[in-house]
Symmetry: C2
Subunit: 298 residues, 2 copies
């Protein structure tokens, strides 16, 4: 992304980081708060909260109205990573360049830290969203949150992912995986921002579609990185998909086809911004980052 976009992105990221830190104070019993904070403040890109905040601001909401929700979405994302990394799931020892939660706190505490984040997040939305946002809107946002968090979202994505290991899967199943494991959280981010800003249904649909294209592109790019990166570049263990015998766009259609499909999806995302005259350096920037990123993968 260009320098203007980068500055804007980093400003929002900084405010998100400050609030994530502020929202979880350590109390008794310390261990659970430490475990939650360990993964949450381990330095993620904060892509989802930034997308939520940027969308809300674009359509006229105030920053303080979307911040609690944006942080809640990052907590949900973090919860899913902690549980996905568990030995009984993907069994990954590294995340964001650091030992994963269960390597530091043990499996029991890591499981509970995930559970805790899953309750903490909606409570932050209820407690911290300012009174200027009506109860009906908060309930709509919570509804979106639980769609993404549960069986209509990342949980079913993870289940199908587990069931697809060591198996040949169809293109439809792969698309289901990308939709549920990845795109649903991006949709949640943009939809929450849009709902809090009070956008009309047709714009909401377009923003949802942007999040879908972006989510698919993001996931294929992630698969590409898994086969082309080192652990230092990735911050987590590379070659994981092949080791776990997971089907990805790359393993099913090859690296070149995966890169082309990513480009195609990124252009579809661009088109929506153009058609809807959404002038956002950040939304344009996160798409262009993927385009520039895959160019370096070989």
């Amino acid at each position: 992304m260009n320098e203007t976009a980068k500055t804007k992105f980093n400003n929002i990221k900084k405010i998100t980081d400050e609030h994530l830190d502020k929202y979880i104070e350590i109390k008794y019993p310390q261990k659970i708060y430490e475990a939650m904070r360990y993964s949450l403040l381990a330095g993620g890109k904060r892509l989802r909260p930034v997308m939520a905040i940027e969308t809300a601001l674009l359509f006229g909401a105030k920053q303080e109205e979307i911040l609690p929700c944006a942080c809640a979405i990052e907590m949900l994302h973090c919860q899913s990573l902690i549980h996905d990394d568990l030995p009984c799931m993907d069994n990954d020892d590294f995340r964001r360049g650091k030992p994963s939660n269960h390597k530091v706190f043990g499996e029991a505490v890591a499981t509970l830290a995930g559970d805790a984040l899953l309750s903490y997040a909606p409570k932050i939305i209820i407690d911290k969203t300012p009174k200027s946002v009506k109860s009906d809107i908060i309930l709509r946002v919570l509804n979106e949150f639980f769609i993404a968090a549960g069986v209509d979202g990342i949980i079913s994505g993870q289940i199908v992912d587990i069931e697809s290991e060591k198996k040949k899967i169809s293109k439809e199943t792969l698309e289901y995986l990308y939709e549920y494991k990845t795109a649903k959280l991006f949709k949640l981010a943009m939809r929450s921002g849009a709902i809090i800003a009070g956008v009309k249904e047709d714009i909401l649909q377009k923003l949802t579609l942007f999040a879908e294209y972006f989510g698919y592109a993001f996931q294929i790019y992630d698969d590409i990185l898994d086969v082309t990166s080192t652990i230092e570049q990735l911050g987590k263990t590379p070659g994981k998909d092949e080791k776990n015998e997971k089907s990805t766009y790359v393993s099913m259609f090859g690296l070149q086809e995966a890169k082309q499909q990513t480009l195609f999806l990124c252009n579809k995302a661009y088109d929506i911004l153009k058609q809807e005259q959404i002038k956002s350096e950040i939304l344009k920037g996160i798409v262009s980052d993927i385009i520039m990123g895959i160019d370096k993968c070989y």
Copy 2:
């Protein structure tokens, strides 16, 4: 409890069971719904939802107004049992007389089934509570739900429980455990019912206190059963506390003192019903069941 109470209790239990069944339909991916339903419909006593419904009805709410919330509380209870039974936690192979969730579906699916219930429950409250209950009230109930579900509730109870294994603990820590592991869910049940019925703050406080006394009594009774029952009577593995070197009221103060303390707490709970002139066969009955139960423990 007497026959009138038993009939009333069983009527409410039956409606709860029907709705728990109805609320979770099996869709793709089947496995996750099957895992959720397996534990949820394994035949619990439904004490918490019955308490929620009875409280709501006592103070003038309609049954359909509290039913979604009551079922959500049972889902939360079920989630905590599934995760508590995991090998990395209490490692229990039996629950409600059947193999525990991870013994049937594996650890990965059991972890996800718990996560799924934790999102499904509040979504049921949002989706199924009738329009006669205002958004503000629903938000208050959700707030109570997340207090009980998270670090201000059962999660911190479980963390302190884990930290207390193989250690001498103080009476204060034991009380913290009983409060957070057990009483918080009973408080949630009665408070939700009361909030949906729109009771005043002073009555809400009294009902909360009833739930607290009842919760403590219930947990000590549970500890007593753990040392005096067979697996057939208990439906889960007995002698677990001793095996896991867990401190309980029984291990710290002996069986007789535990029985006396339970009686004392039950009488405190009775007193509240009397003082507040709460004429509920069911609430009286669940307390008397504990009193009659401990009489048979030796």
